[in-house]
């Protein structure tokens, strides 16, 4: 029997399983099985590749798979759900690095111009994904400052790097025997990944991480062209498409274009301070309890601050007490709440909050008028009414959760410092807003004690 044919048929089966698995990810009921089916697809693909012609040394392959698999398994078991953005960023980087190495390794003396071009793509995208993801990881884990790092002439420097990469790649394709051009492509790609991510601030990370996710897929796709392998092309482009869609959703949720996120940051707009009328009205845990005790409909709007305070479990406790008190509780999740798409949903799911109580922004907004108390936990820009009311505001036009429409709004906040975007939030000064200052976990813990 022809082994090559078996390998190719194996890839067809694997691709079908990936597609089917992703399709089942369309509903929370079937998602877990979908993921399992996708992993079976991967197993089929790997076995098919091992059967492929010309493989003579299995020990190194198996060794590499065991080492990598063990690292992956340990990471997957030990990571805290609050740290998922960092972990996904790091994994994106590994994917990029693997594609870079595959592209490099696929260089053969007899390679034609088309293959060399795809190898250059694979190295370029893989290299940018690797270092870009490492910087994103550093920012998310706060190993390096999460602030946008900008300097004069940044655009010029970046343009020069891009031109340098393109020229080096062109020279290498025409002189494949001169490895210096290859090293230049690798070095400049790695440098470009760093330069591309440092000017992007912490609050824009959902966009960056989605985009890097897409790059890791596109890098695999380019590597697929380099080694002439269908499985890589199909799987890589599925991942690429997924990342691009998430990137679009994130940009739309911030009412910003991708170019705006990637190249400008918020730094230029933070100067437009608008005078806000009204005064801050703090509330004590005691008084907040009396209001909640009388409420029949509560909406909880979480943000990154909930993850930082690790407050998701105590939030769930409060939700149960409210429900036992005959109150309806829902959550309003803004698409860019947190540091990656769906970050809040995973945290709350881990705390045993049923997913049908996690409402998207478009579902919760029409209901907001019938809500007695909206509790904002560690969110700021995503509930800022300036996005609707103040035309001069830098976030004007961004879709937000209209918490001010609720009868009462509780804002849990550490202090009066403004959000990541550095934008004044008129919500805090509204007549129906009460500020519950302090650590979110402690404040909610206090409410839980009052109830029980």
């Amino acid at each position: 029997m022809n082994l090559e044919l078996i390998t190719q048929l194996g890839y067809v089966v694997a691709a079908a399983l990936f597609i089917f698995g992703l399709k089942m990810l369309g509903s929370p009921d079937t998602a877990r099985r979908g993921n399992a089916i996708s992993s079976v697809g991967m197993l089929v693909a790997i076995i098919s590749a091992l059967l492929g012609q010309g493989i003579v040394q299995y020990e190194y392959i198996i060794g590499g798979m065991l080492v990598g698999g063990a690292i992956g398994a340990i990471a997957a078991r030990s990571v805290a759900m609050t740290a998922m953005p960092e972990m996904v960023a790091l994994f994106n980087g590994f994917g990029g690095a693997a594609s870079l190495l595959v592209g490099w390794s696929a260089l053969a003396p007899d390679a034609g111009a088309f293959t060399l071009t795809t190898i250059m793509f694979s190295i370029l995208i893989g290299g940018v994904t690797l270092t870009g993801s490492l910087i994103a990881y550093g920012k998310l884990s706060e190993t390096i400052s999460g602030a946008a790092m900008t300097f004069g002439g940044q655009k010029i420097v970046n343009s020069l790097i891009v031109i340098g990469v393109l020229v080096s790649a062109f020279m290498f394709i025409n002189n494949p025997n001169d490895p210096n051009w290859l090293y230049a492509v690798i070095g400049l790609s790695l440098l470009f990944g760093i330069m591309a991510v440092i000017p992007i601030g912490g609050a824009d990370m959902p966009v960056v991480i989605s985009l890097l996710n897409s790059y890791s897929g596109l890098a695999a796709c380019a590597a697929g062209f380099a080694v002439d392998n269908n499985a890589l092309i199909v799987a890589g482009s599925l991942v690429g498409a997924s990342g691009i869609i998430l990137t679009q959703i994130m940009c739309k949720a911030m009412n910003r274009s991708l170019t705006n996120v990637l190249f400008s940051g918020f730094q230029s707009v933070s100067t437009t301070v608008t005078e806000v009328e009204g005064e801050i009205k703090p509330i004590s845990v005691d008084d907040a309890y009396y209001v909640l005790e009388a409420a029949t409909n509560v909406a909880i709007i979480p943000g990154y601050g909930m993850a930082v305070a690790q407050a998701q479990h105590v939030v769930k406790e409060l939700m149960e007490l409210l429900e036992n008190n005959g109150c309806e509780v829902n959550y309003g999740i803004h698409p860019v709440a947190g540091r990656m798409p769906g970050h809040m949903n995973v945290l709350l799911a881990e705390a045993d909050v049923p997913y049908d109580q996690l409402l998207e922004m478009d579902e919760i907004n029409p209901r907001m008028e019938s809500v007695d108390v909206a509790i904002v936990i560690g969110a700021n820009d995503v509930v800022n009414p300036a996005a609707r009311e103040v035309e001069s505001s830098p976030i004007y036009g961004m879709p937000v959760i209209n918490v001010a429409d609720a009868k009462t709004v509780f804002v849990l906040k550490r202090s009066m410092a403004s959000g990541f975007a550095g934008i004044e939030n008129p919500l805090f000064y509204k007549d129906n807003t009460r500020m519950l200052f302090g650590d979110a976990k402690e404040s909610i813990g206090g409410l839980v004690r009052e109830f029980s």
């Binding site: 993921n35 996708s38 010309g54 998922m84 994917g95 599925l238 799911a349 881990e350």
Partner: protein, 94 residues
């Protein structure tokens, strides 16, 4: 093997298919979607296997082994963490 135009044809079809599939994933599952996609991008392991295991120059061989290792982190870690996360998602029981 196949020519470039055939590979491009596959690329075009799978990108469109990817858009159709992913558009249907609800926002609540976006994090597992990303980590699951991460695992799938570990498909590079398949390309790396061929390079690590064939008669090749030393450099190409070791680059291939490195790629196998890195991509395996993605595959195993990605699928396991996605499974762990999806295990949390429960419907309201009543």
């Amino acid at each position: 093997m196949a020519g470039a135009e055939y590979l491009l044809f596959i690329l075009m079809l799978s990108i469109f298919l990817g858009f159709e599939l992913i558009n249907k994933v609800p926002a609540t599952l976006h994090t597992p979607l990303m980590s699951g996609a991460n695992a799938i991008s570990g498909i590079t392991v398949v390309g790396a296997i061929a390079l690590a295991g064939t008669e090749n120059t030393d450099l190409a061989h070791w680059l291939g082994v490195g790629a196998v290792t890195l991509a395996s982190i993605n595959v195993v870690g990605g699928y396991m963490v996605t499974d762990r996360m999806l295990g949390f998602f429960k419907k309201k029981e009543d």
